[in-house]
Symmetry: C2
Subunit: 717 residues, 2 copies
């Protein structure tokens, strides 16, 4: 123990320390709130500048939140009474691509439907989901689980959820899901209208919608017109229907109205959307593991896999081509992991989370403490096998023939059971995806590279401590690099899985549960799968325990925040959330300040004439003319393009509408800044920003550059 | 002619247009003033915030300006009564390098002389020059030239200048030069005390003095401690002397005092130094040529030479090594040319200069107009052969054997004449340099690459119009690519100049005017040199005409500026100049603002542990301790590092002292920003900035990090 301090701590100092913890733990601008929580934080909302009634935001099946929809992989919003959906260009990219041909390249040229007849049908799997029900089903989900533990707890929750979904989906045109809030504390049944006939109404050219592309991705200042307008259609009966020329525009229960003026620095802003996943309420131990082990380990192993691909493909131009996409993906993942690590270190997140948790635990009663201790034990079990889990995961995702063999053998096993009892991923509805995976091997495989990747991954496996060993793997690959090399050489010299017909013949057998052809890799898979199944069982047992124990941690955290005068939002899980804040500048580095609003001057500055900075001539001409009229910012005296807020977002928030204090649409979320890449774990108000298309830019483009006056009229402009 | 305008131009509009021209032509902050001009612009200086008497600055041989010296290739200043000279780390780099050994690496470790005995002698050719005389000699220089033209005018000016220098340098320890101001309008004899015994007193480690290196070069925000302290010694008689242990510290006539507080945004600042060359007062036609031809042509030819080196060295790792430095230099030159082009386009310099010149010409009398028209004619003659001049220049600078052959043959010709009559560059004092050039060929030559470079350059020559052809070149290389390739193959198959002994034998013959050995490349050089001499004669004839005619242009410009209420500084020519302005932020791009002061936080942010961002541990520790004391900025509450002003600088201003309104030393100039790379032609107040070391950072390093209390005391700190 440290020596007793010479001075007693002054109460005012203690208070200051406490306030510091509070502000670190619950920043005024942090929060992905469930709609139902908004009345609870109404006072904060009003203080931040919201002019409407927070109570009116509580029901996500009523206006204005029922105008916010799930669109493709992101978010969208209705912006007209006739079903116009506004979302990002990158969220609707598949729709634009689907309608493009070499002769009519809508990606490059953009598209304006002259009238409704000219609206182009989206790819048939494109969906817009309108939330029509959000009901608490915690008791139904947990009823049968209570008293159980481990795998049994997991299975009980899983079975109850599936039952609720199946029952709910009896209604046609409705898609249902059960959302797990606060890590197993609460469960909600979500009912969504599944709109299946979407059509392309307006898309800007790529060089506007994706101006800057990868170079500007995650970057601010930004100058991208990342928006597209679709229209939802339904059958004549008003019900969701597949595409048909007879369908009629969907009449949404409400739609957002575009503001006539734009925002300025400091102005209130709020956003609604479907953020995918965050880890903000994970334990201090999980934070420490992420920073001290997971992210550095990911960076290191990605580096080594990149080196292995380089090694395996040296002097082989065709191999380089085949692995180009895997290399790109590894580099991106490495960059993300390194960026997340940098950010968490810069924010001192581990120390702050630990300090906050110590305070919380001191204020937590014995009952929950017991569960929290047990939770720590389960997490420690998982940590004990983390390196093996990382390596086995990569064994599946970073190889082609090895992955195919494991997939085929597992499919053979699962196919012997009734479809409903099969592991998800191996059910009848997954077969097309599996077949696709097996087919694409041809374009992405080279034996020397795959052996180099496996030598790297399994070499690392060989160096694991005994506690993490798997007898099946040791038997198959030996325990020395030489044994491994010999085993790999024999496997890849003997396997015929490199031939597509052989893989597809094995697939035909596997999907019917029949014996697979004789092949060294398939025989190896048959020997390894028992280990895989055993680990899966262990994982589900742990997951069941986590599901059972985390609620105690969440209860303690909610109580702790209440004591500090704050509320707790559930970590993001793909359900509708609202965040609020303001337009705020960014000071990312010493002496550098980025204003929160960009202007068209920046487009001309960035323009090089080369992709991705090849602004179209009509845009450059319009900028040079300077004829901005009503869409110009009165203070800046020019046309704005993008703006920056401190809103709390993550992946899935693409296309989220940004509203002003009066609830009018001022922007469209499309990205966040590089400094915020660690925000999925830790919200640092100094660095967390979200990047939006200014609706005035969209209006100006649609008025002056690629005019669509009929669409503007429909949006009330 | 355009149709008559419907409205007559309103007088107020005409006035506004005129004012716009005025402000464009003479920005308040633009100007590299001669000391003698400062009383003339005294009112501006006072309005800008200068608290002293501008008249006291008029004499550059009196305090404070006689404390500002030429040091190495840059500027320095006396900062103690015992001859301490403060300059940049990069300006004193040769001195540090000269004293470094593998065992005692002063570059990496820095150096602190514990006492005077420990001060380390500089390389013997390092000089510090103290200006002790600055006298107008226009009449002596131009007396014999008047009435002449062309080459005769050039030779008369050249001969008079050489006479003045020779006479002046009869005094021992004095170096003299004749400076041409306003392009031949005025001439000044400059007398400088030549201090030859310099010693290293204090240098920070490379990772401070050159923190960021090439990556941060031209960049702001910056975090570099680019300073070093030397001491000048003289003989016991007080006269300049070569290094000797008996020498004593030089007692300068005055020295600068370091300010106790530091500057803030908006504060007045001024700077004195030796800027090398600017082109601000060139004609509108020269501006247009620079932007429309010279810079694009340079970018294009550098790209093609880079491609040629790539092509010629393909698959040859040794060739890649040999040409690495040439490739780097071509890339740097390409980057500079492209940056200058970008800047001039961004500033709309061509249009603005042309508009300004039109106004000037309209206000100019017939006599000067005649000379200005004649000047335009001479410039047009030069333009007519510009592409050939560019190619022949590169033929000399970008080849090794070809250059050696031309050098040797020319040396042979010149060596037949008395030394004083030889072309400069081929005199006795140049022989060591020529020998060095011939020796280094070995490390920088590959025949395939040289042939590829020549094929590129001479291929471009072959495509020139007939008016630019040279019979000697056509005879040597033919007029088709095939003929060229055949000629090059024969030359390089036959030449022995690739062998150093052969080159040195030829050198021994050439320096004595003897016949050179038989060698195809030397024989080629003998056939080409007559063309080279003819072009040189043409060039000198044009230069004489430019020297005769530009003064009319300058007179017209000075009169035009007087009419606008402004004064004209001469374009930079390596003589002492003063500029004044203030600390000013930079807004280089849309939505980006750089504060004018950086802090140590930025060092920690940039630190990666890898060169060039490998801040030394003692510095990182001191930053973490945060013990900044008296050197901390009171408003920022932390230690500043560098600051940014709008002062007018160019190459040669490295090491210039930056003074506050009271004439106290607040900073040390060491770089400018990338956006200002075009400022040698056009001063754009939006983008022109200069980057300085904050003297508080130097003090803090010398107090807290690498302490040298005795040196601080000597500087009065």
């Amino acid at each position: 123990m440290p020596a007793a301090p010479r001075r007693r701590r002054h109460p005012a100092r203690a208070l200051l320390a406490c306030l510091a913890t509070l502000s670190a733990a619950a920043h005024a601008d942090e929060g992905m709130w469930m709609a139902a929580q908004l009345p609870q934080i109404g006072e904060q909302l009003r203080q931040a500048g919201y002019a409407g009634d927070p109570a009116a935001l509580a029901d996500l099946t009523a206006a204005p939140l029922n105008a916010v929809v799930r669109a493709g992989g992101g978010t969208g919003a209705f912006v007209s009474a006739d079903g116009l959906v506004l979302t990002n260009h990158h969220v609707a990219y598949g729709v634009i691509q689907y309608n493009s041909t070499p002769q009519r390249n809508l990606i490059d040229d953009g598209y304006i439907a002259a009238d409704r007849a000219a609206e182009l049908p989206a790819n048939p799997d494109y969906r817009v989901l309108v939330t029509v029900g959000f009901d608490r089903v915690t008791d139904q989900v947990l009823g049968a689980a209570r008293g159980k533990s481990g795998r049994a707890y997991f299975d009980a929750v899983d079975a109850a959820s599936k039952r609720i979904v199946a029952e709910c989906e009896r209604e046609t045109g409705i898609r249902c899901s059960v959302a797990n809030m606060y890590y197993g504390t609460d469960f909600y049944r979500i009912r969504q209208l599944e709109l299946r006939d979407l059509r392309l109404v307006y898309a800007p050219p790529r060089a506007i919608g994706n101006f800057g592309d990868e170079t500007d991705n995650f970057m601010w200042p930004r100058h991208t017109g990342d928006f597209t307008l679709l229209r939802a259609y339904v059958g004549r009966d008003g019900k969701p229907a597949a595409h048909s020329p007879d369908n009629v525009p969907y009449q949404p229960p409400s739609h957002l109205r575009i503001a006539h003026d734009g925002p300025r620095e400091g102005d209130f802003a709020m956003l609604a959307g479907y953020p995918g996943i965050t880890y903000r309420h994970r334990t201090a131990a999980e934070f420490a593991e992420q920073v001290e082990w997971t992210l550095p380990a990911r960076v290191a192993v990605f580096d080594q896999l990149l080196a292995a691909i380089e090694r395996g493909g040296a002097g082989n131009a065709e191999a380089a081509t085949r692995y180009a996409s895997q290399v790109q993906s590894l580099k991106n993942n490495r960059k993300r992991a390194a960026g997340e690590l940098d950010g968490l270190l810069r924010s001192d997140a581990v120390r702050q989370r630990a300090q906050d948790e110590r305070g919380m635990l001191a204020a937590t009663g014995r009952g929950d403490r017991r569960d929290i201790d047990a939770l720590a034990g389960v997490l420690a079990q998982a940590s004990a096998v983390r390196e093996r889990e990382l390596l086995l995961g990569l064994l599946g995702s970073q190889t082609q023939l090895m992955r195919s063999a494991l997939l085929l053998e597992r499919l053979r096993l699962e196919s012997a059971r009734p479809d409903a009892e099969r592991e998800s991923g191996y059910q009848a509805r997954d077969l097309a995806l599996i077949e696709g995976t097996l087919k694409q091997v041809q374009r992405r495989y080279d034996p020397a590279v795959e052996k180099a990747l496996l030598a790297e991954l399994l070499g690392r496996y060989q160096r694991l401590p005994d506690a993490q060993r798997l007898p099946e793997f040791d038997a198959a690959f030996g325990r020395t690099p030489d044994a491994l090399a010999t085993a790999l050489d024999a496997l890849y010299a003997g396997t015929a899985l490199g031939d597509e017909p052989v893989r597809l013949a094995a697939f035909a057998a596997a999907r019917e549960g029949r014996a697979l052809p004789a092949d060294p890799l398939l025989e190896l898979a048959a020997r390894l799968i028992p280990a895989q199944l055993r680990l899966e069982q262990e994982r589900k047992t742990r997951d069941g325990e986590l599901l059972r124990l985390r609620p105690a941690y969440m209860r303690a955290l909610v109580a702790w925040r209440e004591q500090q005068g704050g509320a707790v939002y559930p970590d993001a899980n793909g359900t509708l959330r609202v965040s609020y804040g303001r337009l705020e500048r960014l000071q990312p580095r010493d002496a550098v300040t980025y204003a929160p609003v960009t202007t068209v001057a920046g487009i001309a500055e960035k323009h090089t004439g080369q992709v991705p900075f090849d602004a179209p001539q009509p845009l450059l001409d319009a900028i040079a003319r300077g004829d901005f009229g009503a869409t110009a910012d009165p203070a800046l005296g020019t046309q704005t393009v993008n703006f920056l807020t401190n809103l709390d977002t993550t992946g899935g928030n693409s296309g989220s509408p940004v509203l002003n204090a009066r609830g009018e649409l001022i922007g469209l979320n499309f990205d966040s800044n590089w400094e915020a890449v660690s925000a999925s774990w830790w919200f640092d108000p100094r660095y967390k920003r979200a990047i939006h298309v200014d609706m005035r830019y969209m209006r100006w483009l649609m008025e002056q550059v690629y005019p669509a006056p009929h669409v503007l009229r429909e949006m009330g402009l």
